[in-house]
């Protein structure tokens, strides 16, 4: 029952969120913006387009990507092991990269290499964040992490504030927002056309879009478990993180992949480790 709800509701909420995203972005740029339901119109339209494929393998990789994105969100909703969830999420991202690499288009190839860089940037940070959660709660399972916070009335945000900051950066990379929109080149910056998505069209692009919605829901879920002791505060935290993301997206310029790796691996890691070291002293 929970699984069905997760599979059905996640893309609906994710789609609405990306509609709100486009509306707020337009308002920040002094425009009126598209209707909130715009992402759904886009996806339905894409399903009605002619099927254009460069090779048959790319279909397999797109479906793999969607499947693993769904699986990672379902595992999260079922309260499973966070390490397994991150692993499944990474496999999904890897499938996307393989799909883009299977086509000999320079835009797709460069986009795929940049996507790998993005995965390299956020994966260690996510893992360290999870280690931090383990140090506090003594478990990698989402269920246990949530239960610990409810029984002790001790939100993770109080013990892991710096890790939460780094989670915001992970959110930016995973949502492919500026300054880290290097793989798919969002908005008007089209120097590599659409990066990893260049060679996918019609229904397959629609599947990628739906997979994004699942991923978005998963990452926002990871933000929510920082304040799992109170549902309303958790939702407010997610909303605040989401709006902060949009503002960051609109006020920053794109960075190179080197700057992204530096900000993630050097600054992100150091900030995370300071938090974890402080935690080990306080315990």
């Amino acid at each position: 029952m929970l699984v069905v709800l997760a599979i059905v509701l996640a893309p609906i909420i994710g789609g609405l969120l990306s509609g709100i995203d486009r509306k707020i972005t337009a308002r920040l740029q002094g425009r009126f913006g598209p209707p909130i339901l715009q992402p759904f119109y886009d996806v339905i339209k894409l399903f009605g387009k002619e099927r254009f494929i460069s090779n048959k393998v790319q279909i397999v990789w797109v479906i793999t990507y969607l499947f693993f994105a769904m699986l990672s969100f379902v595992l999260f909703v079922l309260g499973q092991d966070l390490i397994a969830i991150i692993f499944v999420l990474t496999v999904g991202g890897g499938a996307m990269v393989m799909g883009a690499l299977s086509i000999r288009s320079p835009y797709s190839q460069i986009g795929a290499q940049r996507e790998i860089m993005q995965m390299l940037a956020y994966d260690p940070l996510l893992l360290i964040a999870i280690v931090g959660m383990y140090m506090v709660t003594g478990s990698f399972k989402v269920d246990d992490i949530v239960n610990y916070q409810i029984t002790h009335n001790a939100p993770l945000l109080y013990t892991l504030p710096l890790v939460f900051l780094v989670m915001i950066e992970v959110l930016t990379i995973k949502m492919r927002k500026s300054p880290f929109d290097i793989a798919a080149s969002h908005h008007g910056h089209q120097e590599i056309v659409r990066g990893v998505h260049t060679e996918f069209s019609g229904p397959y692009l629609a599947l990628i879009e739906i997979a994004h919605w699942y991923e978005l829901m998963l990452v926002l879920g990871l933000v929510a478990i920082f304040f799992a002791s109170n549902v309303y505060i958790a939702l407010a935290l997610v909303a605040a993180a989401f709006i902060l993301e949009l503002i960051i997206d609109n006020v920053t310029a794109r960075v190179t992949f080197r700057m992204m790796l530096k900000s993630a691996w050097v600054y992100g890691m150091i900030i995370c480790l300071i938090n974890l070291i402080a935690l080990s002293f306080l315990k």
């Binding site: 486009r22 337009a26 425009r31 715009q38 119109y41 387009k49 056309v193």
Partner: protein, 151 residues
């Protein structure tokens, strides 16, 4: 089916190909994206990738050197698709029509659905042209489903 047609009408993604325009029409095309006209209100996005696009906007005079590129961009777009020729040069060759190296109009190379006149075409007229093109999606889709797609 009607939901699909509504979605088609509400989300036309645009790719813009400049065949060798003086940049007048190109600037007006980009002006449509600015806060003053904001075509994203209607779901129109400048997508920059023919494989994702529904509407091809062509500006400038076609010549024998770039007709191959134009045809290539057109053929990479999945059906249903609409071509809008923007400006006098794209419609007929404009004042350059008599030049030895100018093709008299985009429609000599690829099928054109909407002609937007003007030198340079105004942003309001370009938006009108795209809206006219959107109305053609339904018959194009019917043609696509019946299997006789004109290539």
């Amino acid at each position: 089916m009607s939901l699909l047609n509504t979605s088609r009408a509400k989300s036309p993604w645009v790719v813009h190909y400049d065949c060798g325009s003086c940049n007048g029409c190109d600037i007006e095309v980009l002006a449509c994206l600015t806060p003053l006209y904001d075509v994203e209100r209607f779901g129109i996005l400048n997508i920059g990738n023919p494989k994702h696009a529904d509407v091809l906007l062509v500006t400038g005079t076609v010549n024998p050197r770039n007709e191959r590129v134009l045809r290539n961009v057109y053929e990479q777009m999945p059906e249903p698709k609409v071509v809008v020729a923007i400006g006098a040069c794209a419609c007929t060759g404009g004042i350059f029509a008599d030049c030895y190296n100018v093709v008299q109009g985009v429609d000599k190379i690829i099928p054109v659905d909407v002609y937007v006149p003007g030198c340079a075409a105004r942003p309001e007229v370009i938006i009108d042209g795209v809206v006219l093109g959107i109305q053609k999606f339904e018959e194009k889709a019917a043609k696509m489903n019946s299997g006789n797609v004109k290539k």
